[in-house]
Amino acid sequence: MTLLALEFPPVSRLIEWKPILLRGTPFAVNKVVLLMWAAMIIVLGLFFVVGRSAKLVPTGAQNLVESIVDFVTDQVILQTMGPEGLFWTPFLVAMFTFVFICNIFEVIPLIQMPVNARMALPAFMALIVWIIYNSIGLREQGFVGYMRSTLGLDLGVPLGILVILLPIEFVSNILIRPFSLAVRLFANMLAGHLILATFAVLTAALFSATYIGAVLPGSLLAILFGFEVFVSALQAYIFTILTAVYIGLAMHPEH
């Protein structure tokens, strides 16, 4: 696609990678899958190694891990689910760290591909969250109670409005929630990746044409890298806190 006399690569070239292993089979492995495995190994290794050699006075990596756990406990779980939600600490800490590491690959030089810019991983994680919060709701409140609180029957609205309210609540709480959870993460990461690629192409083209012209887009590119680090952390936080909110709502319905 040509825009302003610059050759921008099409979107498919920025996010689709050739298979590296097991070519031609349905289980072909490309760069995104390798990065996903790397993120999984980093998360597992970090928590496993630190958890095995935990000391009373934390040093090095244990400081980092303890601050992650404290952050998820204080900022996510206690704010949204209360003390009963502490049961979900391992799940939410693992989810926060995994999503953050998958996102931060976006700004690491020579890798520069957020795993969550492909729909597969966010969609799968949203599916897991959907199954978890629905089964928690069914277990804690029973089928009738869960449907009553989810569909807004307990709010005491008049019958005429209930006819409109029921389908809206059903669609928004059961169908749209996992979809928007996945799309929020996916679209934020895709947009960040595209913006970085756009400014990188612009900087390179202006540098090869006029050396001085690359100063402005180049400095903006550096600022955007910092911004994308912030967005990676923020999206991991939002994914985790929304998971906590959905599980908390399933455990204790709103009154």
Binding site: V11, S12, Q75, Q79, S180, I238
Partner: protein, 85 residues
């Protein structure tokens, strides 16, 4: 203008219209969430300045509100790519 358009390759015209449609979709989808996030953040700032001791709780809720509002703009962003492709 019509003659110029008619002389063009019809496939090219349809690709161009798709691009225009994608732009309109994203532009339209960004209006509402833009206003909404402005309201959310503005009210969060006034709440924080009135009661600085509740700033932590307000900030958490503000990020939640931003995330829920922003989803609509991101639907438009994804839809614009689906329309183009």
């Amino acid at each position: 203008m019509i003659h110029v358009l008619a002389a063009q390759n019809p496939g090219e015209l349809s690709a161009g219209l798709k691009t225009v449609g994608a732009g309109i979709v994203y532009g339209g989808a960004a209006i509402g969430p833009g206003i909404g996030i402005g309201i959310v953040v503005g009210n969060a700032i006034s709440a924080m300045s009135r009661q600085p001791e509740t700033a932590g709780m307000v900030r958490t809720t503000m990020f939640l509100g931003i995330a829920l509002t922003e989803a609509l703009a991101l639907f438009g962003f994804v839809l614009s790519f689906l329309l183009k492709g």
